[in-house]
């Protein structure tokens, strides 16, 4: 039981990193990317190959993975983000499959026995769960703060403006294409970093892990917690991980079919969009360095979304 809880916390941490990246793309900038599993895959493979084949330290693979995933994101972003409309989601759907195809072609069985991360002589093995929890969550917190700061800088405001209205954003001097590509690249890079931790924790990578389902799962975390809300997506990661380990946690694996979990993700997306599109935690409020009292937002009831069909 405790074991499963630890596992949930570790995976929630890894997925929270992914969700932070997805949140940058979907939550801040309003672009729908469906290949976070692909960036995750790139990150895992970079760590696996660099650690195993080239004997590099785990810590050095993190920036390499971020750059590799970000670069792939950039390549796909340039043709699709210049255009109006939702070509990005279809292009990324295809990209996710292709990354997995390439990974399979590269090495169908993946990599096993990847050297583990170590710090000052301590090796983070799968057995020391608390230590790994500490490792992952330190990174989650660091990224959380980095992205909170981003969201509330002028860059974050520009991204929000792009999400709300691209034409108005242009008239405010925002280079819409640059911000869209930048946000996509950054989100992809964080997805790559999450991949490193996956490889470091399981010590194995294989292409079968990085399916479309993973991308939808990450999307679910963002939608559930609240698009654009940093705390929300971490909460979302916890809830989704809990759902996916629910059968094992309560010994119900034999009763609950394997697909139930995915069907729940689908339901979450539909139901949240209809009943609570702003997510469980809703909009992220920020104080801009001014005391709280002046900024209290008067309570609004169910608010109607802006009317653009």
């Amino acid at each position: 039981m405790l074991n499963f809880f630890q596992l949930i916390i570790i995976y929630a941490g890894i997925y929270a990193l992914m969700a932070i990246g997805q949140n940058c793309i979907t939550g801040y900038t309003g672009m729908l990317s469906l290949c976070h599993a692909g960036f995750f895959c790139i990150g895992s493979y970079v760590t696996a190959i660099l650690c195993k084949t080239f004997g590099l330290s785990f810590w050095l693979t993190i920036p390499v993975a971020a750059i590799a995933a970000g670069f792939v994101g950039f390549l796909i972003g340039v043709p699709t983000l210049r255009l109006k409309g939702d070509y990005l989601c279809i292009a990324t759907l295809g990209l996710g499959e292709i990354i997995r195809n390439i990974a399979t072609n590269l090495n169908p069985v993946g990599y096993q026995a990847i050297p583990r991360a170590s710090l000052f002589g301590y090796e983070f093995s799968a057995r020391g769960k608390w230590q790994f929890i500490a490792l992952v969550w330190v990174f989650v917190l660091v990224f959380y703060f980095l992205f909170q700061r981003l969201a509330h800088s002028r860059i974050g405001r520009a991204l929000n403006a792009v999400r709300e209205d691209e034409i108005a954003a242009q008239s405010n001097g925002i280079n819409v294409t640059k911000y869209k590509i930048g946000s996509f690249t950054l989100g992809a890079a964080v997805g790559g970093v999450a991949g490193c931790f996956m490889a470091a924790y399981t010590a194995t990578v294989n292409p079968g892990t990085f399916t479309f389902m993973v991308s939808v799962m990450v999307l679910c975390m963002v939608v559930l917690g609240g698009m654009g809300n940093g705390k929300g997506v971490i909460l979302g990661a916890f809830i989704i991980q809990f759902i996916s380990y629910f059968p094992q946690l309560f010994g119900l694996s034999s009763i609950i079919p394997a697909q139930a979990q995915q069907i729940i993700y689908g339901l979450i997306l539909v139901v949240m969009m209809i009943w609570r599109p702003q997510g469980l935690l809703g909009r992220d409020k920020f104080r801009y360095g001014i005391e709280k009292r002046r900024l209290a937002i008067p309570h609004k009831g169910a608010r109607k979304e802006g009317g653009r069909a």
């Binding site: 699709t80 279809i90 209809i274």
Partner: protein, 326 residues
Amino acid sequence: MTLPADLCLNEFNPYNGGTPVNTFTVYMQYIINGLTLGSIYALIALGYTMVYGILKFINFAHGDVLMVGAYIGLLTYQALLGDSTSASWMMLAFLIALVVSALLCALLGMFIERVAYKPLRNANRLAPLLSAIGVSFILSNGAAWVFGTQSRRFPYPFANNPISILGVTITPHQILIVIVAVVMMVALTFFVNRTRMGKAMRATSLDQGTSELMGINVNRVISLTFAIGSALAAVGGILASFDFRVYPSMGTMTGLKAFVAAVIGGIGNISGAMLGGVLLGILESVGAPLLHIPNAMKDTIAFAVLIIILLVKPDGILGKNEKEKV
């Protein structure tokens, strides 16, 4: 997604070490195969394009409706056929299965629209897309739950004896696929251009608000669009399952390619979808052997085509340049 041997025609591949044959015949063969594949893409692409034309959103669940259609068709066909081996009954049972599947999928399409998209018509741009992804996930995993994940073969409704014309092999099911696809497309073109409801549909895609003021029941038009698109997808799904077999995730890749076909032709444009489908089918069938692309990477072609189209002519071949009004 790999093609079974009878469509891959490896024995004709000159690089395969088989009997050397004339290159013209080889490429004719690829083109014929591509045409068959393309008419399936075209049928499915119509659903994407019609929905996009009216609601301006990509109906992600379309590919999964196709999968449901294939399952319904397969189950109906098997139930009707029983142990019978009578040739005429096989054909009739197949046609009945086609109709039943199209009708049920039309209902399914309307139901999905009513439940998952209609409440979001005035929400922000992302909401219906996310909801559609949710529906797609529910359908494909629901199917995996009910039918299991193993793939099933759709039996040919008649003896599949290839016919040889000038060294090019054509199988009866290829002819069947093309005939069914052409009949459906002609019927749709007639419906859209010649009937009152078709006119209402075209009007709605141009301007929803004005159409409503002109007394068009926009809700009904949208419902009908989903019904027609889903029925076509069901037919496309059944035709596709001759070659690709039936399995719960069959809709994802086939749907993606059909969408690429719709973009090639110009999304929102009905004749564009047909043209795009056929073009993509031929490109895929001819391109893979021409560029020595291994079978596992074949899907990359459609994707590369999408990127090239987006870079060169994002509005597609027949599409019009539509700028957002300021």
